[in-house]
């Protein structure tokens, strides 16, 4: 029996209650392997997927836990740290889609942390939280590299909207609906249709298709997929990406004469309409 465990990134325990290995019920064997990993999500909600991975750096423990819980409720994967040193460590060991940063952090404060991470992570969206009412703090934070600023006390709904806006901008300005030929993906309703017919995907299959469609007509490598969809380093011995691409292809392309998802030998995959 052969199966592979993807590397578990540090601090990623939240959100997923367990990783379960199950036998697939497809008759087709792929690369001789019949076992895949199925990540089961804590609350069994069918529509849940980890759309983006967030790091929350906030030293007030009740506030930090509230933010984690609230953001998890918005389908994000959330890691929590309470000081600047741990924030830096997490950012250096794991890939995040967004950082929620309190300015008033112990060990390394928010501004110093921004100065440290900006040279190596220019593309990481940073949403700063500050309790100081002074205008200078917000101006300094933005000048130091923050993308947005929220003054405490703030509305959680506003934090949610600003998070969505920052992630939208990060994703090449891709909107809510992505389309390639007659294949349509709605990122907020977690819905996929081909020629008007609904397609059911698991959370990982959805994230994979979303990533391919965000890069439509541009070939993506297995390493890019592993990093952006699984948020884990690429292991060339693993066929996890190929297995999932096959699942997605079976659901998306099987009934249509036009095949959208193509393999590019030696490079990876591309989704395109011709």
């Amino acid at each position: 029996m052969q199966f592979e465990l993807p590397q578990d990134p540090p601090l990623s325990s939240c959100g997923f209650s367990k990783i379960q290995i199950r036998e697939t019920n497809t008759n087709a064997t792929f690369s001789g392997r019949r076992f895949v990993l199925q990540e089961q999500i804590a609350d069994n909600s069918a529509s849940i997927r980890s759309s983006a991975k967030l790091l929350v750096a906030e030293d007030d423990v009740p506030l930090a836990h509230f933010l984690k819980r609230g953001l998890q409720g918005s389908k994000y994967e959330v890691d929590l740290v309470h000081d600047g040193e741990l924030a830096l460590q997490s950012l250096n060991t794991s890939k995040y889609d967004l950082l929620v940063l309190d300015l008033n952090l112990p060990k390394i404060d928010g501004l110093a942390l921004l100065a440290k991470i900006r040279p190596s992570m220019p593309g990481l969206p940073v949403l700063v939280l500050t309790g100081r009412t002074g205008l200078e703090d917000r101006i300094m934070a933005l000048d130091e590299g923050a993308d947005d600023c929220l003054l405490k006390p703030f509305s959680f709904n506003e934090l949610g909207a600003r998070t969505r806006a920052l992630l939208r901008r990060k994703n090449n300005g891709c909107g809510r609906v992505l389309q390639v030929a007659d294949l349509v993906l709605d990122r907020e309703q977690f819905m996929v249709e081909r020629a008007g017919k609904r397609i059911d995907l698991t959370s990982k299959e959805f994230s994979l298709l979303e990533y391919l469609m965000m890069n439509s007509r541009k070939p993506v490598t297995r390493a890019m997929i592993m990093e952006n969809v699984w948020k884990a380093p690429y292991d060339s011995n693993s066929n996890l990406v190929d297995v999932y691409v096959k699942y997605v292809r079976d659901k998306v392309d099987i009934e249509s004469s036009t095949k959208l998802l193509r393999t590019i030998r030696g490079i990876g995959y591309v989704i395109a309409d011709n």
């Binding site: 009740p62 509230f66 409720g73 309790g131 405490k152 006390p153 709904n157």
Partner: protein, 81 residues
């Protein structure tokens, strides 16, 4: 900041009193953010009595933190911080 070098009950200078007061007021921002958020999410997401009860319980502990801040501010105001 609290004035460690001053005995309780003695009068503290105006400037350090203002700084202490400002610190306490600053500390109210965290429980207020949590309280506001719990109430917003309860309104949007809570479905069962249990959901609402849990939101109320979590709100109460944030109110307790706000009361602590208030008491601290009172002590500062009468010069007993």
């Amino acid at each position: 900041m609290n004035t460690e070098n001053q005995a309780i009950g003695t009068e503290i200078p105006r400037s350090s009193m203002t700084a202490a007061m400002s610190e306490v007021l600053h500390q109210t921002a965290q429980p207020l953010t949590v309280l506001l958020g719990i109430l917003e999410l309860a309104l949007l997401q809570a479905e069962t009595i249990t959901d609402y009860r849990e939101s109320v319980e979590r709100s109460l502990s944030e109110v307790a933190r706000l009361v602590d801040c208030l008491n601290q501010a009172k002590r500062i105001a009468i010069g007993q911080a």
